[in-house]
């Protein structure tokens, strides 16, 4: 589960039209999230609120033997008016979905953070870049204090120009050397390529990483249009024959680090192929990263087999030490009410579609796949409302997700996340099949409420 503040930060990015995925760091984000999802430990309660469009708070209380907690505040100069922050309205996909679809390059699609009700026709029409207000100069301030440890986190994100963003994050803690560390990040995103430079006070680490996109939509003329969905849709129908084949985008990049104080460095190269949202077949993402210094080869493959099912595998091999690793991950969405038996509610009755306006909120399968709203063209309105009951019956509105992973040490991670009433919960456990005597390595429950 993404934390509330993470969600708000993402909302900020989308509100300012920043594509956070267009960086080398996020090259294999899909497989990483499908396989390496964090398991909650102990009991953790989060109370969050987007009090004003500019200001969000979050309080967390957790116990893993000892009670700890954190207080965090976030301030954004951009009003996050449309963001659905209430935990009963947050789109679960925004919090829980692991499979990341490619954004259209240069697109400023921010709508999937918008609550369904808050996404009327005019919102959809603001999708094009020219209608987004000039957001350079907008900034985000974030601070978090972990209480018993007295650990302070702070982050400043500032947009200097539409293509340039500076991010400064710092941690202050007594146990750290020099009392804390500071990381500066300069991100430059031109759509076709994105470059990042970073510097850390810890060890004087300097780094450069970049990502270059080619193939697919970038090579065609489509790149010229900061595509509204309808645009790409029509574009796709034009290239129907091409899209029957695998239709996606290649990305390649690399990273280079050098610690000026400890005279050590590291580097890696990577490539990715991912299908574009307009691809009609099964969406897939495949990445390959190589660390030539350490002889490490890492290949991942993630596929959105069904709308409710994502799968990912990862293989690692080291040519120097002949060590290998594999891991598989899975994500299964369910439309059953997760805590139905607890709440005494009949799932069938619950899934019964409400008449009237809520029905309009339902998105089509295709739209969901693309993580966007449906086009609100009036002529399609009528047939869609007729489809609605059937769609609801087959479980369009997901209420929970089961994530599982397994690695070569036969360790299983299980995570069940969903929404119960207006609480978003995350229940996870780690199981070690090698030690069947006491298989449960960890158990945790996270509950998040926001208003």
């Amino acid at each position: 589960m993404r934390e509330f503040m993470h969600y708000i930060t993402n909302a900020f990015y989308s509100a300012t039209g920043w594509n956070e995925d267009n960086t080398y760091k996020e090259l294999n984000a899909t497989a990483r999230e499908l396989i390496d999802f964090p398991l909650p430990r102990g009991l953790r309660l989060t109370l969050s609120s987007l009090a004003t469009p500019h200001f969000a708070t979050s309080y967390q209380l957790g116990t893993v033997g000892i009670v700890d907690g954190s207080i965090s505040y976030l301030h954004s100069t951009v009003p996050l008016t449309g963001v659905a922050a209430q935990s009963d309205r947050i789109p679960l996909a925004a919090l829980l979905r692991s499979y990341r679809r490619l954004h259209d390059l240069g697109s400023r699609d921010r709508q999937w953070y918008w609550g369904a009700e808050e996404a009327p026709a005019e919102t959809a029409s603001t999708l094009s870049t020219d209608e987004i207000p000039d957001q350079h100069g907008s900034s985000l301030l974030y601070g978090r204090l972990y209480l018993p440890q007295s650990l302070l986190e702070g982050m400043v994100v500032r947009r200097l120009s539409p293509a340039l963003q500076v991010q400064l994050s710092a941690v202050s803690e007594r146990s750290l050397r020099n009392g804390g560390t500071l990381l500066g990040l300069v991100q430059y995103d031109r759509g076709k390529y994105g470059v990042e430079g970073l510097a850390s006070t810890d060890g004087g680490l300097l780094g450069v990483r970049g990502l270059y996109n080619f193939g697919g939509d970038t090579s065609s003329s489509a790149v010229t249009s900061p595509s509204s969905s309808s645009n790409s849709e029509s574009n796709g129908s034009g290239q129907l024959g091409e899209r029957e084949r695998i239709y996606g985008r290649f990305s390649a990049g690399g990273e280079l680090y050098y610690g000026t104080l400890n005279k050590s460095g590291g580097m890696s190269l990577g490539a990715r192929f991912a299908t574009l949202p307009s691809h009609r077949g099964t969406p897939l993402t495949a990445t390959l990263t190589i660390n030539p210094l350490m002889g490490n080869i890492n290949a991942t493959y993630a596929v959105l087999a069904r709308d409710y099912c994502s799968l990912a595998t990862r293989m690692e091999f080291n040519v120097y030490s002949y060590e290998s690793e594999w891991a598989v991950g899975m994500e299964l969405w369910s439309n059953r009410r997760p805590a139905g038996f607890l709440l005494g509610a009949d799932p069938n009755r619950q899934s019964e579609p409400d008449p009237g306006p809520p029905r309009r909120k339902e998105r089509s399968f295709q739209a969901k796949l693309e993580w966007r709203l449906d086009d609100t063209d009036p002529e399609s309105e009528a047939p869609r409302t007729e489809e609605k009951p059937a769609a609801a019956g087959t479980g369009e509105e997901y209420r929970g997700v089961l994530k599982a992973r397994l690695d070569q040490n036969l360790r299983i991670g299980l995570l069940w996340e969903g929404r119960a009433k207006s609480l978003i919960f995350s229940l996870g456990t780690g199981v070690d099949l090698r030690k069947l005597g006491e298989p449960f390595r960890s158990l945790g429950l996270e509950i998040q409420y926001s208003s």
């Binding site: 760091k25 994050s169 970073l198 810890d202 990273e255 590291g266 030490s321």
Partner: protein, 543 residues
């Protein structure tokens, strides 16, 4: 005197190396490892070699059948070697990230991927030169302390010998680690190993010694057993007991099992009440000792310090029991003077020996410091030990023998106190001590059991005491002047901190002095002895 050090039998024992390897492995993996080491450190090979170390005895501090303390100089340049195996993380970025907070992590995609390399390190050509303090006691096992940094040089050869930088780094790191290991871990390992070796003894002790704890209600660690005996049934030096009980920690706690203590308290209670049902622990000797001895205790108890008050009060309320398995054996073998030996220990330990326990406990702390000083101070402290033994010779005698004249003691006390203070205390003590010793041969039948107590630690057979007596007397004589000085010097660091402790020490000294006076009186008119010897208290054997 000769010592025989066996080097080869250690290596001949096939199990020894396996055990040593296991102990070393656990010791190496105990402390949290740096992030660069990603696997357990495993000791794969360990060999002590065939060349024994050169040992030079600098000093023998304490020598007895069941304990030993000495300082050695050890030089070693043999062919011992040790091979370790582990895996290290070769990616510097990986180890760099592992210790950093995730929030400011640069989050590299694959640059931090791990590359673990198996590493084998062989340590050989170890050259040691150390001053070793070795303390051995049967109860506590073997303790070794290095007085200086023992490691002179060693050769580190590893998988990365071809890379100069890595080799130098490893050499430096391992030398540092090994120094820590030698100074901190090795003593612990050896101690554990020795406990394993003498484990059967420990087990046996655990069964026997609790019976000496004759006051069940009180924490045995606060009030050590009054007349502990060793495995052969001979009395232990109070210093040794205090060593055992006062700093033994959990080991010592084991000696007094809850079950035994509860049984003893049951026993006491059954005697206090008029219940006919008496608990009957096995191998226990009952002694009823009512009347004057109780009074004696009552008169003696006021000058004692508070911890002793609790004990004496329990004595005044009830009878005196001595639970001793071994004494019943002595009883059989030496029928002429069984009770005397026994009662000495019981009551003397009660009134004075307990004070000595405390003092000995304090002494124990400073003794370590003494070891680290020059050899001269060591000798003096040793003499102090000896004198405390001789003092315990004189003291116990007075107590059991004085049931009738004990009433005179308070009257005598001020006189003796004055005498003591008007003259130099050292001199007074010396002469008095000398007089005690000189008068001893006159009453050999009274002496014998007493000397038996003092010698019991060294000589197992009481009959030998006569032949040993001259030696002990000599020791006592020559240590007479040094004794009090050493005593005072030893107690000074403590007394500086609080005058209360000094007072206590003084009171104890006074009490010892009084008892010695009383003993002198007894020896001057030995008729008292005859009276007492004729009437030993009735003994009941519980069956």
């Amino acid at each position: 005197m000769a010592f025989n050090f066996n080097w080869s039998p250690l290596t001949a024992d096939a199990e020894f190396y396996k055990r040593a390897r296991d102990l070393l492995t656990t010791a190496l993996n105990k402390s949290p490892k740096p992030p660069i080491i990603v696997d357990d450190i495993i000791v794969t090979e360990f060999n002590l070699g065939s060349v024994p170390p050169d040992l030079e005895i600098l000093e023998i501090g304490d020598l007895a059948e069941d304990r030993f303390r000495g300082i050695f100089k050890m030089c070693y340049s043999g062919d011992a070697f040790l091979t370790l195996k582990t895996r290290v993380q070769a990616n510097p970025l990986n180890t760099y990230l592992s210790a950093k907070p995730g929030f400011t992590s640069p989050q590299p995609l694959a640059a931090a991927s791990s590359l673990t390399i198996p590493l084998q390190i062989t340590l050989s050509e170890i050259k040691l030169s150390a001053f070793i303090i070795l303390v051995f006691s049967k109860q506590k096992g073997l303790t070794i302390v290095f007085r200086n940094d023992p490691l002179e040089s060693l050769k580190v050869s590893s998988t990365f010998d071809s890379i100069q930088f890595v080799r130098d780094y490893l050499q430096r790191t391992i030398e540092g680690k090994l120094r820590d290991l030698m100074m901190d871990e090795l003593p612990a390992i050896i101690h554990r190993l020795s406990l394993q070796l003498w484990c059967p003894d420990q087990m046996a002790k655990e069964d026997e010694e609790p019976k000496e704890a004759d006051e069940p209600g009180v924490n045995p660690l606060a009030t050590p057993p009054l007349d502990a005996v060793d495995a052969h049934g001979h009395l232990l030096d109070p210093a040794a007991i205090s060593e055992l009980t006062l700093d033994g920690g959990p080991e010592a706690q084991l000696l007094f099992s809850q079950k035994t203590l509860r049984r003893l308290s049951d026993l006491t209670r059954s005697q206090v009440t008029s219940s006919l049902d008496t608990a009957a622990p096995r191998d226990v000797l009952f002694r009823a000792w009512a009347g004057q001895s109780d009074k004696a205790d009552a008169t003696n108890s006021p000058p004692l310090s508070t911890p002793n008050l609790a004990r004496s009060s329990s004595y005044t309320s009830a009878h005196t029991y001595t639970f001793s398995d071994s004494v019943s054996q002595d009883h059989g073998s030496l029928p002429s003077r069984p009770s005397l030996v026994h009662l000495n220990s019981a009551t003397a330990g009660l009134s004075l020996g307990s004070g000595r326990h405390n003092k000995a406990g304090r002494k124990k702390k400073t003794r370590v410091v003494n070891l680290r000083r020059k050899a001269g101070t060591e000798v003096s402290s040793e003499q102090g030990d000896e004198t405390s033994e001789t003092a315990s010779i004189g003291v116990p005698m007075s107590e059991p023998v004085m049931p009738h004249p004990i009433l005179e003691v308070p009257e005598e006390e001020p006189v003796s106190g004055k005498v003591r203070f008007s003259r130099s205390p050292d001199l007074g003590e010396q002469t008095r001590r000398a007089s005690i010793m000189a008068e001893r041969p006159k009453t050999p039948e009274a002496q014998m059991p007493a000397v038996g107590i003092s010698d019991s630690a060294t000589a197992p057979q009481p009959p030998i005491q006569l032949s040993e007596k001259p030696r002990s007397r000599e020791v006592a004589k020559e240590s007479g002047p040094v004794d009090s000085k050493a005593d005072w010097r030893r107690s000074r660091p403590v007394s500086d901190t609080s005058s209360v402790i000094l007072e206590q020490a003084w009171i104890m000294k006074m009490a010892g002095e009084i008892a010695r006076r009383v003993y002198d009186e007894k020896t001057r008119n030995p008729t008292f002895w005859d009276d007492q010897d004729d009437t030993p208290p009735p003994a009941y054997e519980a069956r």
